[in-house]
C-alpha cells in the first residue's frame, strides 16, 4: 500500500483557519467594495431622492391650491350667475316697486338671508323709513333718524359694511331672547335724482341721497359673511341704483307727455274759438260796410244838393253843419273799417311807382290853406339825397304824412310847422328809440325819414303813449274847434308798421320858454356886417332859427371865406352900397353853376325902390328890410330856399 497523501505543510486545524480567514477577507473585501460602490452611488441618489420628495410636496400643495381656487371660481361663477339673473330681473322692469321687490327676493335666495330690507329717505331728508322688506308684507311706520353714526358709516363708503345686529336699522323683528342674531351687513344704494343729469357735467356724487339696504344672515347659525358675498351685494346695489334712475326718468317723461297732450288739446280749442270769432267779425264788417255806407252817402249827397237850393242864411248854416258832420262820420266809418282790416292783416298795400317829391309837395299844398288861416307857416325841406321816384303805396304814404302834418297844424296856435324829408342814414337807424324796430334792407330799398316839427304847446310825457292808441282822447289836446276822432294816429302807426317802418313822437313837454327853433337845421349862412352890434344881433337871430352861422366883418373877408358850403350869404348893405354890389358880382363870377352859388340876400334899412332895383341888377336873390323879426327872417329864408328867388 501506498497512499497518495501528502504531508500537509500545515496541520489540519491551521488549514481550516486559513481558509476561513481567506473567506472572511474576501467577504470583507466584497463588502468594502459594495460599500464603496453604494457610497459612491448614494452621492448621486440622495439629491435625487430629495428633489423628488420636494417636488412631491410642491405638487401636493399646488393641487390643494387649485382645488381651493376651483372651489372659489365655482362659487363666483354661481354668484355671477345669480347676479346676472338678478340684474336681468331688475332691468327687465321699469317699475320701481318691482325692481326693489325683486332685488330683495333674489338676494334673499342667493345669499340665504333671513331678512333683507330697504330703508328709503323721507321727503324731509331727516329720516329713513322702512319701505321694503322681504319677510314683512307691508312694513309700516318704522323710521329712524338719518344722522345715526352707523348710518353715516354705511353712507360713507360704497362697500358693504358689517354692522351690529342691535343697531336700529337691523332690529326689524321683535327679538325673542333666545335668538342669537346672525351677522348683518348694510350697504348704501345711491338714488340718482333727475336734476343730477346735467348736460355738461356728470352727476355730482356728493349731493346724492341714499337708501339703506340691510341684509341679515339667519340667526343661530354659524354662517359668516364671505368677501365675495359682500362684493356681490355691492354690485347689486349699484345695479339697483341704475335701474331706479331709469324708472324715474320714465315716470318723468310720461308725465311730461301727458302734460303736453293736455296743452295741445287746449290750444286746439283756443285756435278754433279764435277762428270762429274772426269769421264772425268779418261777416259783421262786410254787412255793416255796405249797410253803413249807403245811408252815409245818401246823407252827404242830399246835403250837397240841398246846399244848391234857395236857403235862408240860417238854413244854409244848418245844412253846412250837416255836411261837415256827415263827412266826419264817413271818414270815421272808413277809418274803423280800415283799422279792423289792418289789425287782422287783411289789408294789403298798393305798391306802385310814384314821384316822391310831388307827393310831399301835394301834402304841403293841401295843408297850406288851413295853416294860413291860423297864421301858421309851413315849410318843406327836401334834402338833396332824396330820390325823385320811389316804389310804395303812394296813397297811404300821403295819408300818413297829411295826418301827422295836419295834427301839427291843428294843435299849434302860433309859429311854424317844419317838414323835413330825407333818406335815413345808417347811424340814425341804429340808435332809433324803439327796440322792436329792426331794419332789414335790400340793396334797392331806402328808409324815407319824415320829420314834422311844430311849435305847438307840447305834449306832456304821460299822454305820449296814448297818442297812437285808438280812441284814446287826451283831455288837454281836445279843443272844441278840433274834431279829432282819435283814430288818425292809430291808423298811421299801423300803416307805417305795414311799410316796415316806425313812427314816434318827441315832445319837450309844455314849456313857455323860448325854444331854439330848428327851422333850418344845418343851413350854412355867411353873414357880412361891419357893425359889431348889429352883426351880433343878426347872428343871434340866425342861430335861434337853427342855422350854422359864420360871421365876417368886411367885404374882403367875405370874398376870402365864401365857398360852396354856404347856402346863403346875408350882407348888410349901407346907403352907398357900392361895395356890397361889387361883392355880389364877384360871387356870381366865382360860382358859375347855379347850384354851387350861395344865395345872396341884402340886409338894409332902405325901403326905397332904387335899392331894390340895384340889388336885383347885380344878381342878388333877395332883400330884407331892417329891422328884422324872427318871423320875417324865417319867412324870407324859407321862401328863398323854396323858390331860390325872393323878388
Amino acid at each position: 500500500m501506498e497512499c497518495k497523501c501528502f504531508d500537509p505543510q500545515w496541520p489540519a486545524d491551521e488549514l481550516l483557519m486559513k481558509t476561513v480567514a481567506i473567506v472572511m477577507t474576501t467577504a470583507k473585501v466584497f463588502t468594502a467594495a459594495v460599500s464603496c460602490i453604494t457610497a459612491l452611488m448614494l452621492v448621486h441618489i440622495i439629491p435625487d431622492l430629495l428633489s423628488v420628495k420636494t417636488r412631491e410636496l410642491f405638487l401636493k400643495n399646488k393641487a390643494a391650491e387649485l382645488d381651493r381656487e376651483m372651489g372659489l371660481i365655482r362659487t363666483q361663477e354661481e354668484t355671477g350667475r345669480h347676479v346676472r339673473m338678478l340684474t336681468h330681473e331688475i332691468r327687465s322692469t321699469l317699475d320701481r316697486h318691482t325692481i326693489l321687490k325683486t332685488t330683495l327676493i333674489e338676494l334673499g335666495r342667493t345669499l340665504t338671508l333671513e331678512e333683507c330690507a330697504l330703508w328709503m329717505p323721507r321727503r324731509t331728508g331727516l329720516e329713513l323709513q322702512l319701505s321694503y322688506s322681504l319677510r314683512q308684507q307691508n312694513p309700516v311706520g318704522y323710521t329712524v333718524p338719518i344722522h345715526l353714526l352707523v348710518i353715516n358709516q354705511v353712507f360713507g363708503t360704497s362697500r358693504a359694511v358689517k354692522i351690529s345686529p342691535n343697531s336700529p336699522v337691523a332690529r326689524l323683528r321683535p327679538l325673542a331672547g333666545k335668538y342669537i342674531p346672525g351677522e348683518v351687513v348694510a350697504i348704501r344704494v345711491p338714488l340718482l335724482h333727475l336734476s343730477n343729469f346735467r348736460i355738461n357735467d356728470w352727476p355730482e356724487l356728493s349731493t346724492k341721497r341714499y337708501a339703506l339696504m340691510v341684509l341679515m344672515l339667519p340667526s343661530d347659525s354659524a354662517s359668516q359673511w364671505h368677501v365675495h358675498e359682500l362684493e356681490l351685494i355691492a354690485v347689486v346695489a349699484n345695479q339697483v341704483a341704475v335701474a331706479l334712475s331709469h324708472a324715474a326718468i320714465l315716470e318723468e317723461s310720461m308725465r311730461a307727455r301727458d302734460l303736453l297732450m293736455e296743452q295741445n288739446v287746449a290750444l286746439d280749442l283756443a285756435t278754433r274759438e279764435a277762428e270762429t270769432a274772426i269769421r264772425a267779425r268779418n261777416d259783421f264788417l262786410a254787412v255793416m260796410n255796405h249797410e253803413m255806407r249807403t245811408p252815409m252817402h245818401a246823407t252827404i249827397a242830399l246835403s250837397a244838393l240841398l246846399q244848391e237850393t234857395e236857403l235862408t242864411p240860417e238854413q244854409r248854416l244848418m245844412v253846412e253843419t250837416i255836411m261837415k258832420s256827415s263827412n266826419l262820420l264817413a271818414t270815421l266809418i272808413n277809418d274803423v273799417l280800415d283799422l279792423s282790416r289792418l289789425e287782422d292783416g287783411s289789408l294789403q298795400l298798393d305798391i306802385g311807382s310814384f314821384n316822391l317829391r310831388s307827393v310831399l309837395n301835394e301834402v304841403m299844398c293841401l295843408i297850406k290853406p288851413a295853416a294860413s288861416v291860423k297864421k301858421l307857416h309851413v315849410v318843406l325841406n327836401l334834402t338833396e339825397d332824396l330820390p325823385e321816384h320811389a316804389v310804395g303805396d303812394e296813397k297811404r304814404l300821403m295819408q300818413i304824412i297829411l295826418n301827422v302834418v295836419g295834427n301839427g297844424v291843428k294843435f299849434s296856435m302860433e309859429g311854424s310847422i317844419l317838414v323835413i324829408a330825407s333818406v335815413a342814414k345808417a347811424e340814425f337807424l341804429r340808435d332809433t328809440r324803439s327796440p322792436e324796430f329792426f331794419t332789414v334792407r335790400g340793396d334797392n330799398d331806402f328808409y324815407l325819414r319824415v320829420q314834422v316839427k311844430d311849435s305847438g304847446s307840447g305834449i306832456s310825457p304821460q299822454d305820449i303813449p296814448k297818442l297812437f292808441t285808438k280812441f284814446a282822447q287826451n283831455q288837454s289836446l281836445t279843443l272844441k274847434s278840433t274834431g279829432g276822432s282819435g283814430l288818425g294816429l292809430a291808423i298811421c302807426k299801423r300803416f307805417v308798421n305795414l311799410m316796415d317802418g316806425h313812427i314816434w313822437i318827441e315832445s319837450e313837454g309844455q314849456s313857455a320858454a323860448n325854444r331854439v327853433q330848428n327851422s333850418f337845421p344845418g343851413l350854412k349862412v355867411l353873414l357880412v356886417d361891419d357893425n359889431s352890434v348889429s352883426r351880433a344881433v343878426t347872428r343871434g337871430l340866425l342861430l335861434h332859427l337853427g342855422c350854422e352861422v359864420t360871421t365876417v366883418s368886411s367885404r374882403e373877408e367875405c370874398l376870402h371865406v365864401v365857398s360852396q358850403d354856404h347856402r346863403v350869404v346875408i350882407m348888410e348893405v349901407c346907403v352907398s352900397g357900392v361895395d356890397s354890389y361889387d361883392i355880389a358880382v364877384q360871387i356870381h363870377g366865382r360860382f358859375t353853376k347855379l347850384h354851387e352859388r350861395p344865395l345872396i340876400v341884402a340886409l338894409t334899412r332902405n325901403t326905397d325902390k332904387l335899392t331894390k332895383e340895384n340889388c336885383m341888377r347885380v344878381g342878388m336873390d333877395g332883400v330884407i328890410v331892417k329891422p328884422v323879426s324872427i318871423d320875417k327872417m324865417r319867412t324870407v329864408l324859407s321862401d328863398l330856399l323854396e323858390h331860390r328867388v325872393l323878388f
Binding site: N514, R515, S532, V533, V537, G540, L541, H544, I630
Partner: protein, 152 residues
Amino acid sequence: MDILAQLVERFVNYRSSLYSDSILDDQFTELLKLQDESNPDFVVEVASLFFQDAEKIINNIASALKQGPVDFKQIDANVHQLKGSSSSIGAGRVKNTCVAFRAYCESQSFEGCLRCLQQVRHECTLLKSKLDMLFMLEQQILTAGGSIPPIK
C-alpha cells in the same frame, strides 16, 4: 310866494316904464325872443357889446370935435355906426338922438354936434343904468325860483 309875486310885479312895472319912456323899443322885444337855452345870456352879451362900441364911438367923436378943422364926414360916419348899433339893440332914444345928430353933421353945425354929443352920452349912460337895474330885477326873480313873464 308873496315875495316872488312882488318881485315879478316890480319887474313888470319897471320894464313897462322903459318902453313907455321910449328908452327901449320893439327891437328890444325881438332881442329877448332870441334868448334860448343854447344862448342863455344873449341879451346881456349884446348889451355890453353895444356899450363898449358906443363908448369908443363917443370918444372918437369927442376927439374929432376937439381938433382943428372938424371933419364932419368922419363924425357922420361914426354917428351912422352908432345909429345902426342902437337900432339893432332897440335903444330907442339913443337912435333918435343919432338921427338928429346926423342932421347937424349934414349942416356942419359945430354947436349942434357938440350938444348932440352930450345928449348921446347922457342917453347912453341912462340906458346903461336902466338896463343894469332891469337885469338885476330879473336875476332876483330867477334866484327866487320864479320865471320872467313875457312881454305882451
